[in-house]
Symmetry: C2
Subunit: 210 residues, 2 copies
DNA sequence: AACACTATTAGACCATAGTCTAGATTGATA
DNA sequence: TATCAATCTAGACTATGGTCTAATAGTGTT
């Protein structure tokens, strides 16, 4: 009897996916999460989840951070990325950072079930179009991902805004904290990423497409 | 009778290319340049050059800037990029920014000549491996390239160091000017690129892979 | 309960970044 | 030659960025 966790901020899509899965897996327990925090909380509570179906664009999880974070805390858990886009460089990065599969939302439900079967057997599955160009992620990028996974959620949010080119003042307003606190976070981010200026931090974020 | 300009900072390679071309083009005048400044100077002096063979990595020309700059001043001149690398995203960007051809240095001389023939007839030529993925460069990128082409060479150098994550002080040392001057250049760069902070300028540079 | 550990918060303080103004130099043009 | 325009240069000044110190609160450990 399989237990899946669906992490997607779109309630309608969670429902649809649930329906598609119910038809193909007779004995199935489903858990749901709608943002990165609740995903991590759910994984913490249920230690026997067989598969995580993870949306790339959830609150608190801009692009690759969610995957990096989950892989850091639960390296043995099979993860299938569910995504609206299917840009091949993103697909390659997801696999490179440890996802077992990449399932576009546009896929018919029968094929989604097939893909999940493959993944449950421990094999990788990506859309046909992307099977050729699965460039390996470089050692440096792996190392950077390692460092980024050490950021706290709040620090990650700050890095995200840094990457948008916002001033400290603007970041403070966005997060509802003072500028002094933003600066403290930024100093901590520098330490963890091993850089010494905001431009370098932004370049790290850019490189990992966070 | 054809007149080519070879722009490459490697004297040995210029010589080799010259030899290869002499065998295939009977009537041929060759000019040479070893950096971006001398390339622009040579084009300015000789207004009847039929083809520019442009190396991507020349002093003063980090990646795409050389091409963008030449295209700005001489939009009608056929340009063939000569490059050691053959990364497909770079190939696509070169064609997108107006080069008629992309010739890897690893190509045998007979094929180089063939490629140049094709280009002289006004058709694009890229290596077989790269012919499929010639993604069109987006309008926004075109617009950014337009803006970057308006930078003076010194301003471009400053942008380059910004992109490396250097402090103003370090840039000043590298260029042998005072920090005050660096700041003045940076302000000018912001104006021309339409941004208001160094992080945003760095993101522009990153996006164009300068 | 007492402990160590870490995230979050923020104030005070110094360093760096960025603007404004302005003189010097160069190149094109009348 | 005179002149205009653009670039490069840099000093003085203000805004923003970044460090250090320290208090608070939460977490897991002994």
């Amino acid at each position: 009897m399989a237990k899946f966790l669906i992490a997607d901020d779109h309630p309608l899509f969670r429902e649809a996916l649930q329906g598609a899965l119910a038809n193909h897996f007779s004995e199935l327990t489903l858990r749901e999460a709608e943002d990165l925090d609740s995903t991590l909380a759910a994984l913490n509570k249920d230690d026997d989840v067989d598969l995580l179906l993870l949306d790339l664009h959830m609150p608190g999880s801009g692009d690759l951070y969610g995957l990096i974070r989950v892989r850091e805390d639960y390296p043995l858990l099979p993860v299938a990325i569910i995504s609206g886009s299917e840009d091949s460089s993103i697909v390659a990065k997801c696999i490179g950072f440890g996802a077992l599969g990449f399932i576009p939302k546009s896929l018919p439900s029968a094929e989604i079930a097939e893909a999940i079967d493959t993944i449950l057997q421990g094999e990788t599955w990506v859309p046909k179009e992307n099977r050729e160009r699965l460039d390996v992620v470089s050692d440096e990028d792996q190392e950077l991902a390692q460092k980024v996974s050490g950021l706290t959620p709040q620090q990650y949010r700050v890095l995200h805004f840094l990457h948008e080119g916002l001033l400290n003042k603007q970041i403070a307003y966005q997060l509802g904290i003072t500028e002094a606190t933003v600066k403290a976070h930024i100093t901590a981010i520098f330490r963890k990423l091993g850089v010494y200026s905001r431009t370098q931090a932004v370049l790290v974020a850019e490189r990992l497409q966070l």
